[in-house]
Symmetry: C2
Subunit: 245 residues, 2 copies
């Protein structure tokens, strides 16, 4: 049973204050993960108020590269600090968490394809460790370096490991329909196109529409839920919105 | 022209004080690297007073594993801090240095073989970055996690990249003969067996004998030299002891 869970950057940080960890929320999430005691668990977290402002400062996005090594150092540096906080909170909750920095292990080819061998992650799972990855800045052939989002890591790792369940812990309790109610299940993008927008062009920032499209393409059920539902998700229950294409 | 240079842990740290960077020496070495302005350069550094005491505390070596995730976090944590200092000094000297943490990218199989894909490093070199790696703790199938030495990284990366030159910047000016004089060239281990000891068993700590044996097996000339000779090595000159099998 392999489970990949993402802790949203807006969940584990205070987005209104630069480089500020949401200590209490993070401790609660870590406690839920510690209580669940899953065997093969991969944790991914987003960038929140750590990575995003620094990336924007350097003009770096998932497609716009930076050739400035200082940008790479700055972005990877703040993300290492946030990762340290997340790994620390998980460790305090008894999770055998170990840090994994994608900038050291992955890159993009010229056409933007992510190359991220997961053999080292697999070895970590085999030894009982819980690898904790994060959104990062990675080398991009011909572009310098671009941003790798936590969402992109989740789908890559879930695909590579043929994950059984994927959880996206977000600030919202699920995917909303046009009335603002949580959609219990999405099996086709058309189910929510009206609420999320039909065109990929309306979603350049990689919001909920991009998440849903990517999760529909996975070979595993994915769930988008709020912090309060993490324990239920980890217990194998449906939580928030179930997405399976 | 691909060059791999290792900055010894005893060179860049003060071995007599825990977790203390040898700031002045490090700044001088970084300046020499900045002045050299090489195109395809990989820098590796050792652990010195950062990694060694913490690894010893947790009973971890290159063969003795630890199953304690706290050990992995502690060792990788202190090494990230030393790496941050080395990358920072290189950046101050104008080197386009970016950090690479081996624990995120590599592991050992059950028989101890290092698995460390270097595609991400190659992409960094292609984009003009100088990756800066370090001795670290990595997952070891069946053993938990073991130590990966800077020396092992050097030979692995030099082999994978078919490096043109390899430099080992040590605290000593070269490999000594029985009279304490620097041997100018070693082409066979027998040249220095009397001075270094014939048996691998006398070298469990991975000292000079192990270095020389590994460097003789490389397909590139390697040099062992002191800090003062780094500029000469980077300028393409012979420095300290030349080792080529």
């Amino acid at each position: 049973m392999t489970v990949v869970v993402k802790l949203g950057g807006s969940v584990v940080t205070d987005k209104s204050a630069p480089e500020t960890v949401a200590e209490d929320v993070l401790a609660d999430l870590a406690a839920a993960i510690g209580d669940a005691d899953l065997s093969d668990l991969v944790v991914v977290h987003g960038a929140g108020s750590f990575g995003h402002p620094v990336a924007a400062e350097h003009g770096a996005s998932s497609t716009a590269g930076t050739r400035d090594p200082a940008a790479v150092r700055d972005i990877s540096g703040v993300m290492e600090r946030l990762n340290d906080a997340v790994v620390g909170a998980l460790a305090d909750a008894g999770v055998p968490a170990v840090p994994v920095h994608p900038c050291s292990a992955s890159h993009r080819t010229e056409d933007g394809t992510l190359q991220f061998p997961t053999d080292a992650l697999e070895a970590m799972l085999g030894e009982g460790f819980v690898p904790v990855l994060h959104g990062d800045v990675i080398t991009h052939a011909g572009e310098g370096a671009t941003i790798l989002s936590g969402d992109e890591i989740v789908t890559h790792v879930a695909d590579d490991f043929d994950a059984d369940r994927v959880g996206i812990c977000s600030t919202v309790p699920g995917v909303f329909d046009e009335d603002g109610d949580v959609v219990p299940e999405i099996t086709d993008y058309d189910d929510v196109a009206a609420a999320l927008g039909e065109s990929a062009a309306t979603d350049v920032t990689g919001g909920m529409a991009a998440k849903v499209r990517a999760l529909l393409d996975l070979g595993a059920p994915a769930f988008v839920f709020g912090p309060d539902a993490l324990a239920a998700f980890l217990a194998g229950e449906d939580a928030g919105t179930r997405i399976e294409g």
